[in-house]
Subunit: 328 residues, 2 copies
C-alpha cells in the first residue's frame, strides 16, 4: 500500500481516497492497523488543517437525522464543507446503525460538499471509539470545515464523542417538565449547547417551556471557568422548518472563537490527545488477556471460581502472580 | 486482626461484627485488603447460606426509598431478615449518597431484622463494585434471607448491580407514553420485573397505562430461554399504600424457584463469579499504570502526544514496547 500517495490524495480532497482510508482505519487486521497508524502519522506531518468538531447527542425520536440534514445543508450553502460521522457501538447488535440509512438525509447525502459515513460496526466501544477518532483525523486532513460526530443518547458513547469534539451539542425533543430528570446529569454537564428541536406547529409552546426548564437547569450547574457569560445555553430550533439553525451556528462560533482566543481550544485538544493515548495503552493491556497463555490461565482459574472453589479476589491475585512469573 | 473470630461472629448474626467487616472490605489499605480477602475466603468455607439477591434500579423521584421501606417492612413481617445495600459511584461527587439518609427509611432502619448500609464512597465504579460485591457476600454469610442492592438509574452502575443480583427489578414512576424511550433499552433488557410505582390516588390511571406500555415493550424483547412464560413482566405497585407488594414478592419467588429448579440460578451465580474474577484481573492490570515507572512513562510520552509531536496510536505502541523491555 502506497501510504504517501494515499495521503496526498486525501489532502487534495479526493473523496474516494478518503472513503478508502476510513475503511483502512476501521479494519482490525494487523497489517491494516500498521498502515493506518502510518497514514495518520503521515497526515499529521503533512497538514495542520483544523475543522470544528461538533459532537451531537440525542436519543431516537428527537429528530437527529432531520437536524443533521437541515444544519448540514445550511453550512454547505455558506460554502463550508461538512463531514458527518457516527459513533454507535450498539449498531451491530440492534441491526440498524444510525446513519446507515442515508435516505434519511437525502439532500445532504447527494451534496458534493458533504461527506456522510455511518458508524463503524462492532459492539466494543473501545474499538469503535478508536476507529471513529481516526476517521475524524482523516476528515480533518481532507480539509472539511465542520465535522459532525453524532451518537445516540444511550450508554457511554457520549463520553467518547465528547472526548473527540470541540463542542458538544445535546439535541432534545419538547417534553413535559417531569422528563427533565430523564436526561442524565453527566450528559447535561458535557453539553455546551442544548437544542430543543421541533419548535414548530403545535409543539412550539412545549418546546419553549422545555427550553426554559433546561436553561434553568443549566444555570444550576457549575459555571465553567473557560467559557464566556451565558454558556452553556439552551435554545429552541426547528430542523423541519429550518428555524433557529443559523442562530445556533452563530452561538457555536461565538464559543469556538472565545475558546480559540483564550487558548482553551488548543488546550482541550491537547488533553484529548493525551486521553486517547492513555486509552489506547489501557485497551492494549487488556487485549493481552484475550490471547495465549493469559487467556488459558483466565479460563482455567475462572472455572475454579465458577465452581466456588475460590473467591474472585483470591483467584485474581493468583492469576496475576502466575502471569508475572511467566514473564520473568 | 482475628479473622476466625470475626467470621464466627458474622455467621452467628452479630450485627456490629458485620458492620465492622463491611468497613474492612471498603478500605483500600493494603493490609486491610489482605484481611478482607482472607475473611471472604474463610466465610466461603464456613457457610453456604444463600440469600435472594435483588438488584433494584430507579432514577431519583420514582419513590425508591419509600419502596424499600414498605417492601422491606413487609418481608420482615413475614419473618425474613433483610439487608439493604447501595451502589452509587457518583455519591462522593454529588455529596449526598443514596441511603445516606436513613431517616428516609425510618421504620426499616430501626427494625432488628433489617440491616441498612449506604453506598461505599468513591467515584471509581470498579472500586465501588468490588466493595459492594464483598458486602453482599458478608451479608449472605450473616444469614440474611433477602439482600436488596439499590442503585440510581444513571450510568453503568446498573450493569454492576445486575452482575451481583439474582433478580433485577426496575422501579419506574407513572409517565406519559412518550417517556418510554427515556428508559435505555439495555436496562429494559436487564430487568426481570418492572414495577410502576405510585399507582395510587390521581396517578393510578397513568400508572396503569405506563405499566401496559412497558408490558408491551417487554413483549418485543427477546424471550429468555431460561425463564417461564410471562417473564420479564411489568406490574403496578403503590409503595405508599403498600399495595401490590406481596404480589410482586410472589412473582419474584416464582421466578427464583423456577430458576433454581432449572439450574439457572446456580449457573448464573457461577457466571457472575467468573465475571468478577475477570473484572478484578483487569482492574489490577490497569492499576499497574497508576504507579512507578509506568506512570512516569505515561506522563512523559503523554506530554509528547499533547504537544502534537506524535499520534496517540504511535505513542501507545511505543509505551508498551518500553514497558515490555523493562520487565524482561
Amino acid at each position: 500500500m502506497d501510504i504517501a500517495k494515499l495521503s496526498d490524495k486525501i489532502v487534495a480532497g479526493d473523496r474516494r481516497a478518503l472513503a478508502r482510508a476510513i475503511t483502512l482505519v476501521e479494519s482490525s487486521r494487523p497489517d491494516h492497523r500498521e498502515h493506518a497508524a502510518e497514514l495518520i502519522e503521515t497526515l499529521r506531518r503533512k497538514t495542520d488543517a483544523q475543522a470544528v468538531r461538533i459532537g451531537l447527542s440525542g436519543t431516537p425520536g428527537v429528530g437527529k437525522s432531520t437536524f443533521i440534514e437541515s444544519f448540514g445543508m445550511m453550512l454547505t450553502e455558506q460554502g463550508l464543507r461538512v463531514a458527518v460521522l457516527a459513533v454507535d457501538p450498539s449498531s451491530a447488535r440492534s441491526g440498524g446503525s444510525i446513519l446507515g440509512d442515508k435516505t434519511r438525509m437525502e439532500l445532504l447525502s447527494r451534496n458534493p460538499n458533504a461527506f456522510i459515513r455511518p458508524s463503524p460496526s462492532g459492539t466494543h466501544l473501545g474499538g469503535v471509539a478508536r476507529r471513529s477518532r481516526e476517521a475524524v483525523a482523516l476528515c480533518e486532513a481532507a480539509g472539511f470545515d465542520v465535522i459532525l460526530i453524532e451518537t445516540v443518547g444511550v450508554g457511554q458513547s457520549e463520553t467518547v464523542v465528547a472526548e473527540m469534539s470541540d463542542l458538544f451539542i445535546l439535541l432534545l425533543a419538547p417534553a413535559g417538565g417531569d422528563e427533565l430528570q430523564g436526561v442524565k446529569r453527566g450528559i447535561m454537564e458535557m453539553a455546551d449547547i442544548i437544542l430543543v428541536n421541533k419548535a414548530d406547529g403545535d409543539l412550539k409552546p412545549t418546546a419553549m417551556r422545555t427550553c426554559a426548564d433546561y436553561a434553568g437547569a443549566l444555570r444550576l450547574l457549575r459555571k465553567r471557568p473557560y467559557d464566556p457569560e451565558g454558556f452553556p445555553k439552551a435554545m429552541t430550533v426547528s430542523a423541519l422548518e429550518q428555524d433557529g439553525l443559523s442562530t445556533a451556528w452563530d452561538e457555536m462560533n461565538t464559543l469556538v472563537n472565545w475558546r480559540r482566543e483564550t487558548g482553551h481550544f488548543t488546550g482541550r485538544r491537547a488533553e484529548q490527545a493525551r486521553y486517547w493515548f492513555e486509552d489506547e495503552v489501557k485497551q492494549a493491556l487488556l487485549a493481552q488477556l484475550r490471547t495465549g497463555q493469559a487467556r488459558a490461565a483466565l479460563d482455567r482459574i475462572g472455572d475454579q471460581v465458577a465452581k466456588g472453589q475460590t473467591t474472585p479476589s483470591k483467584a485474581a491475585a493468583q492469576l496475576l502472580q502466575e502471569l508475572q512469573k511467566s514473564s520473568e
